[in-house]
C-alpha cells in the first residue's frame, strides 16, 4: 500500500516540492494561487460531503463520528501537552500552543488521504467532512486553557470571534450546507469543476506544500531533536487512538481510518492564526516547524498508509 501511495502523482508532486526546496531552488507557487487552490479544495470537499449526506441522510454513524471527533479534538491536546512539557521541555505557553495544533486538523492531509484511500477502494463516508469541520475548533480552547492554567492573564482569552468565523470553518461548513441543499441534481452543473479537476489541483497544491514544508524546516532555528521526535510520535499516537475509537464506535473501516488521520493531522492554518492572536508570546517558530515542517510531510508520506493498514487490521 505504501508503494502504491508513493507512486501516485499526488504524493510525487509533494516529494518534488520538498526536494526542490531542500535544493534551494527558486521554484515557488504564487501565494494568491496557493490560497485559491486551498479555497477550491475546501469548497469541493464541502460540496461533495454535503451532496453525499443529502442522499444518505443523517445517520447514527454520522452522529457517533461527530461526537467522537469533538471529544478527540478536546482531549488529544492534553496528551500532547503532557509530552511536550515533560519530554519536549517546552514552557507552559509554548506547550499549550503546540498542543492545540495536534488536537485540531489539517484539511489537506484529510483531502490527500481521501484521494489516496478512495483510489484504493477505501473511500470514507461523506459525513467525515462534517467531522473535519467540527474538529477544527475544540482543540484551540483546550490548548488555551492548558497554556493559561493557574495564571491570571488579562485580555488573553479565547478569541471567540476569530475562531468561530475563521475562513476554513466558514467555507467548509458553508459548502457542506450548499451541497446538502443542492443535492445531487443541483450539484450536477458545477460538478465538472469541483470533481474533474480535483486531483490535478491537489497535485499542484501538494507541490506547493512540499516547498513550504521543507522551507519551514530549513529556515527554522528553534527545533530540538526531542521536538522532532514528538512531531513524529504524536501523529502515530493520536492516529492510533482515533482509528481505534472509530472502529470501537462502529464506523466502517474507511471512515475509522479517516477519523484516525484527522486525529493524526496537525493544523497549520486556523490554529497558528488563533495562537498568534491569543498567545502572542508563544513562539510561532516552534509550532509551525513541528506541524508544517515535520508532522505534515510525515502524514502525507507514511501516516496515511500506516493508519489505513491499521484500520484494516483491527476493522
Amino acid at each position: 500500500m505504501i508503494i502504491e501511495t508513493l507512486t501516485s502523482p499526488v504524493i510525487l508532486f509533494f516529494v518534488l516540492g520538498f526536494l526542490a526546496a531542500l535544493a534551494k531552488s527558486d521554484l515557488s507557487i504564487p501565494e494568491a494561487f496557493a490560497k485559491a487552490m486551498s479555497l477550491y479544495l475546501m469548497a469541493a470537499i464541502g460540496l461533495k460531503g454535503g451532496v453525499e449526506v443529502a442522499s444518505s441522510g443523517i445517520t447514527s454513524d454520522l452522529i457517533a463520528a461527530a461526537v467522537a471527533g469533538i471529544a478527540l479534538s478536546f482531549l488529544l491536546p492534553v496528551i500532547a501537552f503532557t509530552l511536550l512539557r515533560s519530554f519536549g521541555g517546552l514552557s507552559q505557553v509554548d506547550a499549550g500552543a503546540v498542543a492545540a495544533h495536534y488536537g485540531s486538523v489539517s484539511v489537506v492531509t484529510f483531502v490527500t488521504a481521501k484521494e489516496i484511500l478512495t483510489g484504493q477502494g477505501l473511500g470514507p463516508a461523506g459525513y467525515m467532512v462534517a467531522v473535519l469541520a467540527l474538529m477544527e475548533t475544540p482543540a484551540i480552547i483546550s490548548g488555551l486553557v492548558l497554556a493559561r492554567r493557574g495564571q491570571t492573564a488579562a485580555g488573553n482569552s479565547v478569541p471567540w470571534h476569530e475562531v468561530l468565523t475563521n475562513a476554513s470553518v466558514v467555507l467548509l461548513v458553508g459548502s457542506f450546507l450548499i451541497g446538502m441543499i443542492a443535492g445531487k441534481d443541483g450539484f450536477a452543473p458545477v460538478k465538472p469543476l469541483f470533481e474533474t479537476g480535483f486531483r490535478g489541483v491537489l497535485c499542484l497544491f501538494l507541490l506547493d506544500m512540499g516547498l513550504i514544508a521543507a522551507r519551514r524546516l530549513v529556515q527554522s532555528r528553534k527545533i530540538t531533536y526531542k521536538l522532532v521526535i514528538l512531531a513524529v510520535v504524536l501523529p502515530i499516537l493520536n492516529g492510533a487512538i482515533g482509528t481505534t475509537l472509530g472502529t470501537f464506535i462502529g464506523l466502517d473501516v474507511a471512515s475509522a481510518a479517516a477519523l484516525g488521520i484527522l486525529a493524526a493531522s496537525a493544523s497549520y492554518i486556523a490554529v497558528p492564526a488563533a495562537m498568534r492572536l491569543a498567545l502572542p508570546e508563544a513562539d510561532p517558530g516552534i509550532y509551525l516547524s513541528m506541524s508544517l515542517g515535520i508532522t505534515f510531510p510525515f502524514n502525507i508520506i507514511f501516516g496515511i498508509s500506516f493508519l489505513a493498514a491499521y484500520a484494516q487490521l483491527i476493522g
Binding site: 507557487i29 501565494e31 532555528r221 528553534k222 492554518i269 492564526a273 498568534r276 492572536l277 502572542p280 510561532p284
Partner: protein, 103 residues
C-alpha cells in the same frame, strides 16, 4: 509655495494576523487613518519568512501612520506593552505633510 506642517511618520512591522489589534489602538488614540503596506519577505533573529506560505501566521506587514507628535506619542505609549510579545518593529520619522492639518 504650498504650505506644509511637520508630522510623525510611524512604521509598525507586525504579524499580519495582528493588524486589527494595531488599528484598534490607532482608532483609540483618534488618529485619522492608516495604510497597510505589503511586505514580501524578511529575515531576523527568528529566521527568514516569506509571504508565499499557506499559513498566514508567519507573514508580516507594515502599518504606516501619519500623525501629530502628540497623537504619535499616545499611540507609541499604547503599543509599548505589545512590543515584545508581538515582536513589533516600530520606527518614527519626521515628515512634512501638505495640507496635513487633519492629521
Amino acid at each position: 509655495m504650498v504650505e506644509t506642517v511637520t508630522r510623525k511618520r510611524i512604521e509598525i512591522l507586525v504579524d499580519t494576523p495582528l493588524v486589527p489589534r494595531i488599528t484598534a489602538h490607532i482608532k483609540a488614540v483618534d488618529i485619522s487613518g492608516w495604510s497597510v503596506i505589503h511586505v514580501d519577505s524578511g529575515g531576523g533573529r527568528a529566521g527568514q519568512w516569506q509571504q508565499d506560505d499557506v499559513t498566514g501566521a508567519a507573514a508580516k506587514t507594515i502599518v504606516l501612520v501619519v500623525a501629530s507628535t502628540e497623537k504619535a506619542d499616545r499611540l507609541v505609549d499604547a503599543l509599548a506593552p505589545l512590543l515584545d510579545s508581538y515582536r513589533l518593529l516600530l520606527t518614527i520619522g519626521e515628515v512634512q505633510v501638505v495640507r496635513g492639518e487633519r492629521f
